[in-house]
């Protein structure tokens, strides 16, 4: 599913993370590491949001060679989502649905599952951080992803929303979607056991 080769990310000639080779089959992965270890940098590289050296492929698709397909199969929800305050949740749901190829039914289902339908018509500027986070997570599930990257998905979520997220993840996982999650909080899945990865000493290892 995820194949990384000769990956290197540097800031001002300072190596943040380097991964000579990594192959991860379909699963849910929990990426762990200390603050500043490079988890978010790695996840943003996989999401194609920052430049990097080397190659990252998801289901054999490399963003450098096939931007459109890669963007359609890799979804990303950031740790602290930020959107223009004058847009509504519906504006963004519609935009994501059109770019990612999601159907109206899928949008409605996700809205109902996450409970954002109650406020999706309001301007994002009026949302609390938890509401914005739920919107961001809902957007992360739209379309036909093969890999969903969730950066700190549990922060600012209440217990009920955490349970909904876990249920959604299990449902998507059973449909062949893999997950790569960074989280400082423990994640418990009743039926699944995520594999753990550790970012340490500027590289990644499977625990």
């Amino acid at each position: 599913m995820l194949q990384i080769k000769d990956y290197k990310k540097q800031f001002a000639n300072h190596l943040i993370v380097g991964i000579p080779s990594l192959l991860l089959p379909h699963n849910i992965y929990w990426l762990k590491g200390e603050n500043g270890s490079g988890k978010t940098t790695l996840i943003k590289s996989i999401a194609g949001l920052i430049p990097f050296e080397g190659s990252i492929k998801v289901n054999g698709v490399d963003i450098h060679q096939n931007r459109k397909d890669y963007r359609c199969i890799v979804n990303y929800a950031e740790a602290e989502p930020l959107y223009p305050g004058f847009l509504t949740g519906n504006d963004l749901l519609s935009f994501y649905a059109k770019t990612k190829g999601a159907t109206d039914t899928q949008v409605q289902n996700i809205m109902a599952a996450t409970g954002i339908e109650k406020y999706a018509g309001s301007k994002i500027g009026t949302y609390s951080s938890g509401m914005a986070k739920k919107l961001s997570l809902s957007l992360g599930f739209l379309g036909n992803p093969k890999l969903i990257l969730l950066d700190e998905p549990l922060i600012t979520l209440d217990l009920e929303s955490v349970a909904i997220l876990q249920k959604l993840m299990e449902e998507y996982y059973s449909q062949g979607v893999s997950f790569l999650i960074t989280s400082h909080q423990e994640i418990h899945f009743p039926t699944l056991s995520p594999s753990r990865l550790m970012v340490k000493d500027k590289t990644i290892s499977i625990i």
């Binding site: 001002a12 590289s45 194609g48 949001l49 920052i50 430049p51 990097f52 050296e53 963003i63 450098h64 931007r67 459109k68 963007r71 359609c72 950031e78 930020l82 959107y83 223009p84 305050g85 004058f86 847009l87 504006d91 963004l92 519609s94 935009f95 994501y96 059109k98 770019t99 990612k100 190829g101 500027g125 957007l139 379309g143």
Partner: protein
């Protein structure tokens, strides 16, 4: 899908630049009444299509406006809250191109409309080659913008073609130099651009025309250059209040906070001061050069203090910058430059002292 781009990019562009467009409309149609204004525009379009020299000037103006549109788009898509636009990468090249073409046409519309009317006037007056050139130029401008937007949207994962080096003036970054470091680290492209443009204009008008130079011409040019620097106070206050908001919790006297701006502007205008001392001493006495330097610093301080006014948005600020520019031009003829600089210094210090503690962060970042 264009709807969201219109909200995030095009709509905001016209909102942010409302002052600029209002000024243009006033210049074009407000000064001369009724039909005469239309006749003037018609004559201008005739002149553009009737002479290659005029056409060249018009093309430069259209290009400058396009640069403004492109810079706005690039700045907007790099803002964290607009990060979601990266999903445009999920569209195929053709769909993405037409979407961005529509967005660029919306931004470039005023020039495009003027260009098309100019070409029509050219055809009517049988200036066919010039009219065709105008149309081709407009098409190139629209396509150029679209290409740059697409390239920028799709480049999140690509290594930048050019990386400007970091300028580390001092290994230890002390508080009085924070703003200077900010310019040289975070805003180095625009900062170097402003300084380059400023010195280029001085070189073109002062050094290259030394024999025809007058005191008034240099003063007007300096006033223009001060206005060209007016974006700096906006980004500095934004930087201080958003990224260095913790400074408000530190026991730093208000005047010391203000002195950081004074010091920064003194250093920023040093190249211009040195340039004038080196090249314009025959035309301008030393005390005039020094008073222009003082005026530049105090005017920038005044711009800074004005940022702390309630509901200070970009369009209102643009109005004030233009207003102060014209007011200073009027005062230049009758008032001593030192007096003007002292008035602005007192006004800016009082305003800052009064407004600083009353300032509340607006919801959205101003930049």
């Amino acid at each position: 899908m264009i709807g969201i781009l219109n909200k995030v990019i095009t709509g905001r562009f016209y909102k942010v630049n409302a002052g600029f467009f209002l000024l243009l409309i006033m210049l074009f149609f407000g000064i001369i009444p009724g039909k005469q204004a239309i006749d003037l525009q018609y004559a201008l379009m005739q002149a553009i299509t009737g002479s290659y020299a005029f056409l060249g000037v018009a093309m430069l103006v259209w290009l400058a406006y396009n640069v403004k549109c492109i810079s706005f788009f690039l700045k907007e898509i790099q803002m964290p809250e607009n990060g979601f636009l990266v999903n445009l990468q999920a569209l195929d090249n053709q769909k993405q191109f037409f979407l961005l073409l529509e967005c660029q046409a919306g931004l470039y519309m005023p020039s495009l409309v003027y260009g098309v009317f100019t070409a029509m006037v050219g055809f009517k007056n049988h200036f066919y080659p010039q009219a065709v050139l105008v149309l081709i130029f407009q098409i190139i401008m629209v396509l150029l913008g679209t290409y740059i937007y697409a390239n920028s949207i799709n480049s999140t994962y690509k290594k930048p073609f050019i990386t400007l080096p970091s300028f580390n003036l001092f290994s230890k970054k002390s508080y009085p130099f924070y703003l200077l470091h900010y310019s040289l680290q975070n805003k180095k492209g625009s900062f170097i651009g402003i300084k380059f443009f400023s010195l280029l204009l001085l070189q073109a008008m002062v050094a290259a025309n030394a024999d025809k130079l007058s005191k008034e011409a240099i003063c007007v040019l300096i006033m223009f250059l001060i206005s060209a620097h007016s974006l700096l106070p906006m980004s500095y206050v934004s930087f201080m209040e958003y990224e260095l908001s913790f400074l408000r919790n530190l026991p730093i006297p208000t005047l010391k906070r203000f002195s950081v701006y004074v010091l920064t502007y003194s250093l920023i205008f040093l190249p211009e001061l040195l340039f004038l001392l080196w090249n314009a001493q025959q035309v301008l006495p030393l005390q005039i050069i020094l008073s222009l330097y003082a005026l530049a610093i105090t005017q920038m301080c005044l711009y800074t203090s004005l940022q702390y006014l309630k509901k200070m948005k970009s369009e209102r600020y643009t109005f004030i910058v233009f207003g102060l520019f014209f007011l200073n031009l009027l005062l230049l003829a009758s008032t001593n430059l030192w007096v003007l600089a002292i008035i602005e210094a007192i006004a800016s210090t009082l305003l800052y002292t009064f407004l600083y503690n009353q300032f509340e962060l607006p919801g959205e970042k101003k930049e």
